[in-house]
């Protein structure tokens, strides 16, 4: 295809392919995955492109091993990634926890489909949004992007890698079948791709503590073969990385896993606000549902209705403060999601009863009609 890692140019590309190109542009050189619809084009593209850019592709025996290999690849020193869909995402949960606990940078793209179980393998869904937040056992902070176009699949996969490196953790790209399979113009421009360089140890092996955090609560990483002889364990561990199974260490470690995301929210959270200034009713949406919501927004504005949109670019961490603030002055918030009510609960929680919150559900397998969203908006106006 190209021996260039960043294929500067303009392309007609689907979202899955753009995700793969974004990963490669961000420096991904190890991909391990297992075939599943509708992410297969990511793996296929990676199998083609990894050898071209000096990386390694492996098709593993399942998703459990795919994510385990990605964690190993990351400790081996490569920017690493896997891609999957709902059933595979479920299988990855245990090792996502290992990645969080061991603070292993990597990216997991979930091209969601109708769920639960095998559900609707070839059709859109947004049913894994809470799983991305709470799927593995225990407490940890989460960063998840929800792209809304092939271009954003490229842009936000780059960003996901950067945030994974910056905060030393697995980061999710929570797309869906529609975004994955939609074909649109994608512009790749090497001069616009920014890469966050991994923080390496600043002291020698004798002094280095692999889990001693910097001021922003993020530790530094020594990869395999660099002479630091680091011990990495999923057991609760001290700053040296050694198991220490007591309440104090648990508090320090797990507290920091949550805090390194929570206390850096200003840097991480991204939302897009459209027509919010004079809005009396808001739409809060993300991913593919946002594109339908935009249709409803335009129609509402054409009819002179004061409607605004908050689009969650990062779904996690949730922009609680901004939603709370806006809840004080709007009559209501409409939340269209391609599930039967997930992020709507977060919106409701954030609004603290100040604004009426209405879900516009969709079970998956298709998209809302803009009029469904419009009806809800008019109910609240």
């Amino acid at each position: 295809m190209s021996d260039k890692a960043i294929m500067t140019g303009k392309y007609f590309m689907n979202g899955d392919e753009a995700c793969a190109e974004g990963a490669i542009a961000a420096g991904c050189r190890f991909f391990a995955g297992y075939p599943i619809t509708p992410q297969s084009e990511i793996a296929e593209r990676m199998s083609n492109r990894m050898p071209e850019v000096g990386g390694r592709f492996i098709q593993m025996e399942d998703e459990l091993s795919s994510i385990a290999a990605v964690l190993g690849g990351s400790w081996g020193g490569a920017r690493s990634m896997t891609a999957t869909s709902g059933p595979g995402f479920s299988l990855m949960m245990e090792n996502i926890g290992l990645g969080m606990m061991t603070e292993t940078p990597c990216v997991i793209a979930n091209i969601q489909r109708g769920s639960p179980s095998t559900g609707l393998p070839t059709a859109v869904g947004q049913g894994d949004m809470m799983q991305a937040k709470w799927g593995s056992h225990g407490d940890y902070g989460v960063i998840a992007y929800a792209p809304t176009s092939p271009q954003e699949m490229f842009d936000y996969t780059v960003k996901a890698f950067n945030k994974a490196e910056q905060y030393m953790m697995p980061v999710f790209v929570m797309a869906d079948e529609k975004i994955g399979h939609m074909r649109e113009r994608v512009e790749i421009d090497e001069s616009k791709v920014e890469i966050y360089q991994r923080r390496k140890p600043e002291v020698g092996p004798d002094e280095f503590l692999p889990y001693e955090p910097d001021e922003d609560l993020v530790p530094r990483m020594a990869s395999a073969g660099e002479g630091y002889r680091v011990h990495v364990t999923g057991l609760t561990h001290n700053q040296k990385g050694y198991p220490q199974l007591d309440v104090e260490t648990q508090q320090e470690k797990v507290g920091r896993l949550v805090d390194k995301v929570e206390k850096n929210k200003d840097d991480i959270v991204e939302i897009e606000e459209i027509g919010v200034e004079d809005a009396e009713v808001l739409i809060v949406s993300y991913g593919m549902a946002f594109r339908t919501a935009m249709g409803a927004y335009k129609r509402a504005r054409e009819r002179g209705k004061k409607v605004g949109i908050i689009r969650l670019v990062t779904v996690w961490p949730f922009p609680e403060e901004r939603i709370r603030e806006l809840s004080q002055r709007v009559k209501g918030i409409v939340v269209p999601e391609i599930n039967l009510g997930q992020l709507v609960n977060e919106v409701e929680r954030a609004s603290q009863g100040k604004a009426e919150v209405e879900l516009v559900p969709h079970p998956g397998g298709g998209l809302h009609q803009p009029d469904q969203i419009l009806d809800s908006l008019e109910d609240l106006l």
Partner: protein, 287 residues
């Protein structure tokens, strides 16, 4: 110290201290003593591996030790190398990523029978099939020791375990046969009583390019032995000494282990062959 005693001590050579022990440079001294029970074979298996590294002069910074979960899973934590204590069953896929991302590393997976062959069995056969360049060491104690002595995929039929109070009614895996048929290029089995043989087998396995497998049959007086009238750890070692028959190159299909304490246990080197590794084959298609 009396002059007589002093003389005796001098005559036996220099005093062996932690600092002078050949294994020390491979171990995280501050983490010792280890957690394993008296009579367990894990400690000696670790020593054999450090000796093998030493003998082959593999630079310590090039060694990666990966373990899963369980008693043997704790081994990685004692190696002063890059060491990874991963999730239950996933040591091999983690090691796969480590090796593929960093081919300069010499990657050893050190884990137990439950971890590698119950929850992780699928990964074992696929890694062997791919001929990934790594060495897998399985310390087989016939049960899930860490969780209190439940039966596992290698528990001999009829043996008693905490979840097999009437006797294990499942058929166990014969690990050399499984490894050989899945495609491992080196397969050996020894028992904890064969310290030097284990070390030599580990050296062979580490030196091979491809997927090599060493099974070590260990005593487990706490979890397995006492429920099966095998006595103390030392008694189990004695029993291994009596039961083990060295038969290099024998059919791994005939190496099953029976519960009968009089029955023969075939040990030795079953497979030693060459086959291109995963990376060699993958790269050969790129030209």
């Amino acid at each position: 110290m009396t002059t007589e005693l002093k003389k005796k001590k001098e005559s036996t050579g220099p005093e062996l201290t932690a600092a002078s022990h050949p294994a020390t440079k491979y171990l995280r001294e501050e983490r010792l003593p280890h957690i394993w029970c008296s009579g367990c074979g894990l400690g000696s298996a670790v020593t054999s591996l450090t000796n093998a590294y030493d003998e082959l002069e593999i630079p310590i910074d090039d060694i990666g030790v990966v373990s899963g979960i369980g008693c043997a899973g704790r081994a990685a934590g004692y190696f002063e190398t890059d060491s990874y204590h991963t999730t239950h069953g996933r040591a091999i896929p983690f090691a796969t990523g480590l090796k593929l991302a960093n081919p300069e590393m010499s990657v050893t997976v050190f884990s137990g029978d439950g971890d590698l062959f119950a929850i992780g069995g699928n990964h074992f056969i696929h890694a062997a099939r791919r001929n990934l360049d790594m060495t897998v060491i399985c310390v087989n104690n016939y049960n899930f020791g860490m969780t209190g002595g439940q039966f596992g995929p290698t528990t001999p039929q009829g043996a008693t375990a905490t979840t097999a109070p009437y006797g294990n009614y499942e058929n166990p895996f014969n690990l050399p046969e499984l490894a050989a048929s899945a495609g491992a290029i080196y397969v050996a089995r020894w028992t904890s009583v064969h310290a030097r043989r284990i070390e030599a087998a580990m050296e062979d396995a580490l030196a091979k390019e491809g997927f090599s497998f060493v099974e070590i049959l260990s005593p487990c007086p706490t979890g397995y032995g006492r429920r099966n009238d095998l006595g103390e750890g030392l008694d189990e070692l004695k029993s291994y000494q009596e039961r083990a028959k060295i038969k290099h190159g024998s059919d791994p299909g005939k190496a099953e282990i029976k519960r009968d304490p009089e029955s023969e246990i075939i040990v030795g080197k079953f497979v030693d062959k060459e086959r291109p590794t995963f990376c060699e084959v993958a790269d050969s298609y790129l030209d």
